[in-house]
């Protein structure tokens, strides 16, 4: 059962290594879980999980592994005994690690474990049981989030299972929610530091070296300060199918405008697809139109291109001449050609899609656009990967 926890966490992609596991065993050996599963839950989380983004996965694994355990601790004790007796359950261990495990599985550890567990059962049988019996179990809901089925009245001390099954750390998963701060953190990495400009910063190490070479006569050495060299051009789809994403879009814009580290930042807007004009304001009026060709001419290939849109449109909007959805403003060149020009011009370009990733393949145009641009989902993870694709090492 304990190994289930370990491997369950690893299966969920939580990076748990033997070192953390040993830390937990060490803590257990000292009896720090006290006599409650709840404290064991907190203790194991503190030792094994090193980021709040994994708390939700931990909750899910914990709930799965220890489902229905409360109240029947004899089995747990057996399992622990079994497990302690057979440390070979760990595959791929070096002899030293095995020895370390065996050292921990001393009689003392077992005895203390059994003691605390025995205490636990007694306490349960005597006092109010945590888990209801006879059909009142809160755990029969097929693994779904069991909001509102908290049985047995207002329990002041919450049980570990309830804590785990509450899954209140859902929001911290990096593959879903986003707020401005998280976006800013992700965008922080959008930088390439280079030394450019006037030498205005005192280089202390170099000054000392030069001074020593100069027999103690002080010789100041200056260098140019480090600056971010990233220039970013943003093309953002507005209106229509993007309306449901108004909130994350405006948060992304806020985060980008807040990001003062960028050397230059130019936002442009379009509707559904890029044609021969993009717009400098989200109203997309003719007065704000900027020829797409001008962008290609005036911004060199070292600018980073970030396109935000759902890439979902009618195939003719992407592939045919005069395909633009606005009848007053059509261009003879198909949108696809403009996208190809953009992708060919800029050395680094990415597409951020607010639609869920599993939907991408359902749309013909999205599949086409994905062939041109590396596409990422608008989430903390996706944004971080997009930034990596813009400034990171080439893969």
């Amino acid at each position: 059962m304990f190994l289930d926890l370990f491997y369950g966490l690893r299966d969920e992609g939580i990076p748990v290594a033997l070192q953390e596991w040993m830390t937990l065993l060490d803590a257990l050996r000292r009896g720090m879980h006290g006599s409650s599963l709840l404290r064991f839950y907190h203790l194991a989380r503190a030792c094994l999980v090193k980021s709040e983004t994994f708390y939700d996965a931990y909750d899910r694994v914990f709930a799965r592994v220890f489902r229905g355990v409360e109240g029947r601790f004899d089995d747990v004790a057996d399992e622990i005994l079994q497990w302690l007796a057979d440390p070979k359950n760990f595959p791929n261990l070096s002899p030293e690690e095995l020895a370390a495990l065996e050292r921990l599985s001393s009689d003392e550890l077992m005895r203390r474990f059994l003691e605390t567990l025995a205490e636990q059962t007694e306490r349960h049988d005597g006092g109010g049981k945590w888990v209801g019996t006879g059909g009142k179990s809160p755990y029969g809901h097929g693994g779904q989030h069991p909001t509102g089925i908290r049985v047995g009245g207002p329990g002041r001390s919450r049980s570990a299972m309830k804590v785990a099954e509450d899954r209140k750390f859902r929001d911290y998963r990096t593959d879903v929610a986003l707020d401005v701060r998280q976006m800013r953190v992700a965008l922080k990495r959008l930088r390439q530091l280079t030394r450019t400009g006037l030498a205005t910063e005192l280089d202390l190490d170099e000054t000392i070296d030069e001074t020593c070479k100069n027999a103690g006569e002080i010789e100041m050495v200056f260098r140019a300060p480090k600056k971010n060299d990233v220039r970013l051009v943003l093309l953002m789809d507005v209106g229509g199918t993007m309306d449901p994403y108004y909130e994350p879009m405006s948060q992304l814009l806020t985060a980008l405008h807040d990001e003062r580290g960028l050397r230059e930042f130019r936002p442009f807007y379009f509707h559904n697809c890029v044609y021969d004009h993009v717009y400098s304001r989200a109203r997309l009026t003719r007065a704000d139109a900027v020829p797409t060709g001008d962008i290609l001419r005036s911004l060199d290939e070292r600018w980073k291109l970030l396109i935000v849109g759902d890439a979902a449109m009618h195939p003719s909007e992407l592939l045919e001449g005069h395909g633009g959805i606005n009848p007053h403003n059509t261009s003879p060149t198909p949108g696809m050609t403009w996208l190809q020009r953009l992708a060919g011009h800029f050395e680094r370009a990415v597409w951020i899609n607010p639609d869920e990733q599993k939907l991408w393949d359902h749309t013909y145009t999205t599949r086409l656009v994905r062939r041109l641009f590396p596409m990422f989902h608008l989430s903390v993870d996706g944004l971080a990967s997009a930034v990596q694709a813009l400034v990171g090492a080439r893969v």
Binding site: T23, A27, R45, A46, K50, S51, Y172
Partner: protein, 294 residues
């Protein structure tokens, strides 16, 4: 065994700091296992304060090391003040031949060298360069280092209690994380928040407090907000309300001193618009939804 048991329950929060049970467990776990404790959490949840209160609660002196973007790992151990030595050699001040005079121990070095067990706060570790935590791995593991210039070894007599805070601005390296005990300070729920407020404003009227918290949690639920108000802002806001003598009734229809809570222009404007459209603020916990039903 009894003595050992006592060891783990040494920290239990102090009069000025309300800590949740999991946090207390995490602190005691880190103290007992002599591992660094890594604390994350929303800004304003008291990460930095924790160290001071652990130091108070355990009766150990505290050292802090506030990390900046220019901090280097080596600075925490010691600094060899070459410029001072050069200056002394040129203008004759003190014994230049004794290098030890120019070695100044950093916070980590001081914590190791101290005769008594210390609490060492490494604040906002994510501000520093990406490699910073990796450079400290060995020192935090073995709690010893060698001063290269003199060959002296500084080893910890008592392994300090190391508390590290992070605001999540950068990813921390795995090797570093593996050595830490981790705790994420959740945003306090209403019940815990009442206790926290009571520490700062002990004589607050109960109905007023309820109204204040309802407005506060309602504001935090609004997903349009650029920056959610935090605990410390709540405490400031209550101070302002108390000084102005606001009554619970006045709070029902209006949120005064909104500047204490909302720090972004757009957020304050959004709330003003809500006011103008005569939007109704919730006045009971029920209106906030099932999460807040008490």
């Amino acid at each position: 065994m009894a003595a050992q048991q006592d060891d783990f329950h040494r920290f239990s929060g102090t009069a000025g700091y309300i800590a949740s049970a999991p946090l207390v467990d995490a602190v005691n776990c880190a103290v007992a296992l002599e591992r660094p404790l890594l604390i994350k959490g929303e800004p304003g949840t008291g990460k930095t304060l924790l160290a001071r209160h652990v130091s108070d609660g355990l009766g150990m002196p505290m050292l802090s090391w506030h990390i900046k973007s220019t901090s280097k790992a080596a600075d925490g151990l010691y600094v060899y003040d070459t410029v001072q030595r050069l200056n002394d050699s040129r203008f004759g001040g003190g014994d230049v031949s004794d290098i030890r005079r120019y070695i100044r121990l950093g916070p980590l070095g001081q914590a190791f060298a101290a005769p008594k067990r210390q609490v060492l706060l490494i604040d906002e570790v994510d501000k520093a360069d990406l490699e910073f935590p990796n450079d400290l791995l060995r020192e935090l593991d073995e709690m010893r280092f060698t001063v290269i210039e003199t060959g002296d070894e500084v080893a910890a007599k008592e392994r300090p209690v190391v508390i590290i805070t992070s605001n999540n601005e950068k990813e921390l390296p795995d090797a570093f994380l593996r050595r830490c005990i981790f705790h994420y300070i959740e945003f306090p729920d209403a019940a815990l928040m009442k206790k926290i407020v009571a520490v700062h404003h002990p004589n607050l009227d109960a109905t007023l407090l309820d109204q204040v918290l309802i407005k506060f949690y309602w504001l935090r639920e609004q997903s349009e907000l650029r920056k959610k108000p935090s605990t410390s802002e709540l405490i400031d806001w209550i101070s302002a309300l108390l000084r102005a003598g606001i009554t619970p009734d006045q709070l029902e229809a209006h949120i005064p001193f909104v500047g204490a809570l909302l720090k972004k222009e757009q957020d304050a404007e959004a709330l003003t618009r809500f006011d103008e459209k005569s939007g109704r603020y919730p006045t009971s916990w029920k209106e906030l939804g099932p999460r807040y039903n008490q």
